[in-house]
């Protein structure tokens, strides 16, 4: 146990997976095989493991994008079992960042970032103030009216990060957020992710292949063949 893990052990658990199973193709492909996982408030967790080991699937289940075949997922101590709570979850409690930015190409940076606020019905002036804050911190404030096609890969991923944080979620789930970036940009974006997670106080759970980057997180969780082999506290 490291000092960091000692500190976090008294914090509330915000994400929990209990004996979660998930398969595809009518059970032909078992992706998760009884995963137990939890993350506490403000913690940064790296999910590491080879391709196909179930990292992304676990993130999707934790974020309410998919449902487990068996087991329970809880966010902030509330079990995800109803559609309505999933909408609320995606609007206010969880932000997603994907490997590909998943921005809408015909909209500007500003418009892309405002999408979650439109979904949640947040008034425009509050949304714009939040956007200004985030783009100042991510160095994108001069690109607000740029279309997505005009942005570099790093800028796109930072835009996706801003969008994910627009509604002040307490949890950020990132699926290979630097997977499509070059080494230098990858490191910069990753550090930005950690810095913002720290200043916003959000819990960050991130799937990554890059062990060097993963080492910068509070905790590394190793996955293999649909199971969590052993959690490591860094």
């Amino acid at each position: 146990m490291t000092p960091a893990s000692n500190n976090t052990s008294k914090l509330p658990v915000v994400l929990r997976a209990d004996e979660v199973w998930k398969s595809y193709d009518d059970g032909a492909i078992n992706v998760l095989k009884g995963v137990d996982f939890e993350a506490v408030e403000g913690q940064t967790v790296a999910l590491c493991g080879p391709s196909g080991c179930g990292k992304s699937t676990l993130l999707h289940l934790l974020g309410g994008l998919d449902e487990p075949d068996r087991g329970r997922i809880s966010v902030n101590s509330v079990e995800l079992n109803r559609h309505r709570s999933r909408i609320r979850l995606l609007r206010y409690e969880i932000g997603f960042v994907f490997q590909l930015h998943n921005l809408i190409p015909d909209l500007t940076l500003e418009e892309n970032c405002l999408i979650p606020t439109v979904a949640a019905g947040i008034n425009r002036s509050s949304a714009l103030a939040r956007l200004k804050d985030l783009t100042d911190r991510t160095g994108l404030s001069h690109r607000l009216n740029s279309r997505i096609q005009k942005l570099s890969g790093g800028e796109r991923q930072r835009t996706a990060l801003c969008r994910a944080l627009m509604n002040h979620p307490r949890i950020l789930l990132a699926d290979e957020p630097t997977g499509s970036l070059d080494e230098h940009t990858s490191s910069t974006v990753f550090q930005l992710l950690l810095d913002i997670a720290a200043t916003e106080g959000v819990t960050l759970v991130m799937a990554t292949h890059d062990r060097a980057l993963a080492a910068r997180c509070d905790r590394l969780v190793e996955m293999h063949d649909g199971r969590i082999r052993e959690p490591q506290h860094l």
Binding site: L65, I104, A119, A120
Partner: protein, 370 residues
Amino acid sequence: MIFLKLILTNLLRHRIRSLISIAGIAFSVAAMLTIVTILQGAVGMFSGILSSDSQIIVFERNVSDLFFSNVPASALAEISTWPMVQHADPVLFGVVTSSDHPIITCFGITASDARLRKATWIEGSRGNFAHEPNDVVLGQRAAEFLHAHLGSSVAIGNGTFHVAGIVKTANGFEDGGVFMPLAAAQSFFHKPGASSVITIKLTDKKFAEAFKQRVKASYPDLIALEDEEFTRSYSQFKILKATAWTVGGCGLILGGLGVANTMIMSVFTRIREIAILRVNGFSNAQIATMIFGESALVSVFGAIMGLLLGTALLFILKLIPALHGYVDVTIQPLVVLIVIVLSFLTGVAGALYPAIYAMRVRAVEALRFE
């Protein structure tokens, strides 16, 4: 604002497809507007013939068409004497032919008839009407296509008639018709002593109900209807209106299928975008609103273009000499409203399946294949 931009962006992203969809609705709306307006105009003109300076029409009960109605002269004679009647004008309708025109409407009337009183006499005068049994007065358009003028002879049906006057009337049917002395028309159409209808002007409109009841009591084979009642209930008008709306409706359904096709393609080609919106908290209702909003915009643009196109078409039709007087381009606001509402509903119906499909998009599956 972003919501609207999401809708507009998608329409602009596939401009040609959107334009084809809008054109589909526009042509449907134009077709519906044109057909309905022409037929309503025709109905209005025919009603106008009957209600010329009168409030009530008397005709034979249960006839499918006024051309088959026979009102005996005895009824006309008696009804004319009723104190509530200011004047009663018999009209005998008939269809005659000439060498180039298979259908010409013929009106057998008396010299005192309102149609001749109200008409503008281009050649001849009302005093000359019915001096001779074979005298006819032609509507201006009829005179044009029969190449007739005052004093000339025209061959109509099996007879040859002397043109005693040419009149201009606002009514297309009358302007393209032939006015014959009643007696000559009765002889020509083998309906001695009969008329098709009697048009009645009352001394006061408040006697209308009493008049109708008296006709019912005195002449069980006849029926008296106020002009508006007649327009509403005459089966030929009903058939015409139903036909117009049905044909127009079919056009709109075709337009709606075009919208449906566009919207289905629109949803299929941006499943990923819908998934992104879902991940960012869009509910089913918001996704559906976006899809319906898109189809509603297509429908509204289509309806506006269709109304402009239809109006232009009606004006062009009005300019065609052969249709002069037949096409009434007075577009009724109610028709415009109905057309807009129908096109809107068609667009929404066209978006129903695409919206349901979009609501079923599972973000996790759509985003998995990066």
